[in-house]
């Protein structure tokens, strides 16, 4: 019963990882991470229906996860803005003062 959901979430997760590894724009990177988190949320909801439908643990977890993701995005976008102002762009490739 969870197999279709698991397949969907795995595909989404893989797409998210692929996006993280290939995109150069910090904002797109962030969006890719959001896709990965939503893959996890799908899992949580699907498994919750199997294990403990009454308690809705998985649903609660997923909701909290969405909230956390929003917090991350807020701080992240603020950072990206600040970087854009100082480095003149959001292409992560051009931001490489620190190394070693």
């Amino acid at each position: 019963m969870t197999t279709p959901a698991l397949v969907l979430s795995s595909v989404l997760f893989a797409i998210g990882v692929f996006g993280v590894l290939t995109r150069r724009n910090a904002i797109t990177l962030l969006v890719s991470v959001e896709i990965m988190m939503n893959a996890a949320n799908i899992n949580l909801v699907a498994f919750s229906r199997v294990h403990e439908p009454a308690a809705m643990t998985g649903q609660v977890f997923a909701l909290l996860g969405i909230g956390i993701a929003a917090c991350e995005a807020a701080v992240g976008l603020a950072l990206i803005l600040a970087v854009r102002r100082r480095f003149g762009g959001t292409d992560v490739q051009s931001i490489d003062l620190l190394k070693g």
Partner: protein, 638 residues
């Protein structure tokens, strides 16, 4: 009464703390340390060491009188394991404590003169006191854990002392090398400690030894534990193959060499094996390893010592060689003989080092090519050095003769082959110490017009320790015949045996003496006569070099063991570090991902992009790590 054992090591520890605080306060107030302050620090720490010596003698006498002086308290718990802070005194520990405290006191005293006018002497004396405290704690401990703690502290404080002249790169490197090399051995001791805890749940000597005597002490651990303990001893006592640090450690101030690298710290390995002897007795094969390593080290280092031209290097290789003698005796089932040799060796080797220090202090030279004829300007140093040399060469009635004779006798009874090897080593011992004495003290100055190299006698604070040690080098051998009413070897009461060792046959004793005399005679023929004339001193060395060809060079460079380690161990490590650094910490992972990509063709385009930017290198690394972890985790699915 039980306070005594704590006080023995606590006094130097307090002295150390006081000196450090004093130095910090003085520098905080912007005061440049003055000579007077340094001298005061020297006297304070000497007084501390003297107090330790008095207390150690008191403790020994009360032990003899049957008073229980042991101390035991719970230090802390680690889960169900109770780690005790416990000290005790038996014959072996009492003798060790007295030797350590006595040599430490004499070296402190000597240092007041030797370090005169050097910078930062208060820090030097603080470190010396710290070392003394740690070493005394090491010999007084009654459990393996406290022993290990003291063992490491001894290593750390000796690091500080060896690299006291931090600004000299060689000194800093030598300190580091000593610390790292001995830590390889310490690793064995630590693992043995863990294994003992794991197997017995206790760390106390008596409990562990009782366990070793039970039939439960069998199998792989029964062999591994003594060998791991021995690994610790090999590192600390500079036995092959971990002996490489000791010659380099001669970069430290000479009194430090006398204390640490002759009498006490390097003897700690021998003490450890003697202390843990019941573990070794339970696994006879481990004793054979000890015997062979010891004998091999003794012979090998003796040959190297003959070829060295730095006074301190000769003595360093000599120390390695003599420690090998002790180890061989321990391995041959005669721990009493080994510790007896440790006892006599402590005096005469400290004497030789302090004598060498006296020469270096007076002349500023330490290679035999530059020295000569010092007997005229430094008579006290010369004659006490001669006493030490005769003791080392094993000429009766000096101390070294009695203990070496017992070592050789015990080997003859158990391992005749090794006895023969050590006889050869004894011959070489007499040769190198004779060579050293003849070249440095006889003949004339080798460098014409070098006024300072003519030397001058050292002040009384340096001469007094020489005289005391010379006396000890003469009489300490007689303790083998009688010490507080019994033979010293009995007093030690090591291991289960305690039986009278088989008497050495008269012909063998005669042979041993003959070998010593022959060695000195050979040295006289090679170096004594020619050194009568200035400028020709090393003719025999040159002759040897031309006869032996490249072999001589190999021996002179200590069989290239250092070079071997440099190429096989240090080189690859340095290269790995450089590779990592040049790879800017992401490139290596790229290469790994790259390799993966070649296996999985579809990923090729991805990898090209991954390599292009910084953060994305990191993200790729994380992804790589995830694959790694999930693969490992799924590998557990069976």
């Amino acid at each position: 009464m039980s306070v005594v054992l704590v006080a023995i090591f606590a006094v130097p520890l307090l002295v150390c703390a006081a000196l450090f605080v004093g130095a910090a306060v003085a520098s905080r107030r912007g005061e440049i340390p003055t000579r007077g302050w340094g001298r005061l620090a020297g006297w304070i720490s000497s007084a501390g060491a003297l107090t330790s010596l008095v207390l150690a003698v008191t403790a020994l006498l009360s032990y003899r009188a049957g008073v229980d002086v042991s101390v035991s308290a719970v230090w802390f718990h680690v889960g169900d394991l109770e780690v005790p802070f416990s000290l005790r005194l038996d014959g072996l520990q009492a003798v060790m404590a007295v030797v350590v405290a006595a040599v430490a006191f004499l070296v402190h005293l000597y240092s007041v003169g030797y370090m005169h006018g050097d910078r930062d002497v208060s820090v030097y004396f603080a470190e010396l006191s710290l070392f003394t405290a740690a070493m005394l704690l090491l010999v007084l401990s009654s459990n393996f854990f406290l022993l290990y703690v003291a063992w490491e502290l001894v290593g750390a404080s000796s690091y500080l002392l060896i690299s006291f002249y931090f600004e000299r790169p060689a000194a800093a490197a030598a300190g580091k090398k000593a610390f790292l090399t001995t830590r390889v051995g310490d690793l064995g001791l630590l693992i043995a400690l863990f294994a003992i805890v794991w197997q017995t749940g206790s760390l106390d000597y008596d409990a562990v030894f009782a366990w070793a005597a039970t039939p439960g002490f069998q199998g792989a651990w029964a062999v591994a534990i003594p060998l791991l303990v021995f690994a610790g001893a090999v590192g600390k006592s500079a036995q092959f193959p971990l002996h490489v640090w000791l010659p380099d450690a001669m970069e430290g101030p000479t009194p430090v060499s006398a204390l640490i690298h002759a009498a006490t710290m390097v003897a700690a390995g021998v003490y450890l094996v003697a202390r843990a002897y019941p573990l070794f007795e339970a696994a006879p094969v481990s004793l054979d390893v000890v015997a062979y390593i010891g004998a091999f080290t003794a012979l090998m280092s003796a040959t190297v010592a003959v070829t060295q031209s730095d006074i301190k290097k000769v003595l360093a290789y000599s120390t390695i060689s003599q420690l090998g003698f002790m180890m061989a005796a321990l391995g041959a089932g005669a721990p009493e003989a080994g510790v007896f040799h440790l006892f006599t060796h402590a005096w005469f080797k400290a004497l030789l080092f302090l004598g060498a220090g006296s020469v270096i202090h007076a002349t500023g030279r330490q290679t035999v090519q530059e020295l000569g004829g010092l007997v005229r300007t430094m008579p006290v140093t010369a004659w006490t050095f001669a006493v030490g040399g005769l003791a080392l060469a094993g000429i009766p009635p000096f101390a070294g003769f009695w203990s070496k004779e017992e070592v050789l006798g015990s080997l003859l009874a158990h391992q005749p082959v090794l006895a023969a090897a050590l006889l050869v080593a004894s011959f070489l011992t007499a040769v190198y110490i004779g060579r050293l004495f003849f070249l440095v003290f006889l003949g004339g100055p080798r460098l014409a017009g070098d006024v300072r190299a003519r030397g001058h006698e050292s002040p009384w604070v340096m001469a007094l320790p020489l005289l005391v040690l010379a006396t000890a080098s003469l009489v300490s051998g007689f303790f083998g015949a009688g010490f507080l009413g019994q033979r010293l070897q009995h007093f030690l009461s090591i291991g289960a045996a305690g039986a009278e060792p088989p008497g050495t046959p008269a012909w063998f004793t005669a042979l041993a003496i003959a070998v010593g005399v022959a060695g000195l005679g050979a040295a006289w023929l090679g170096y004594g006569r020619s050194s009568q004339r200035a400028g020709e001193a090393l003719g025999f060395d040159i002759q040897l070099r031309s006869t032996l060809g490249r072999a001589y060079g190999v021996v002179e460079r200590a069989y290239l063991v250092n070079e071997f380690y440099g190429r096989m161990v240090v080189g690859p490590l340095v290269a790995a570090g450089r590779f990592l650094w040049l790879g800017v910490d992401g490139r290596v992972i790229d290469r790994a991902v790259d390799g993966l990509a070649r296996v999985v063709p579809g990923l090729g385009g991805l990898v090209r992009r991954v390599q292009s930017g910084e953060v994305r290198d990191y993200l790729a690394a994380v992804a790589f790590g995830v694959i790694f972890l999930v693969a490992l985790a799924l590998g557990g699915l069976r």
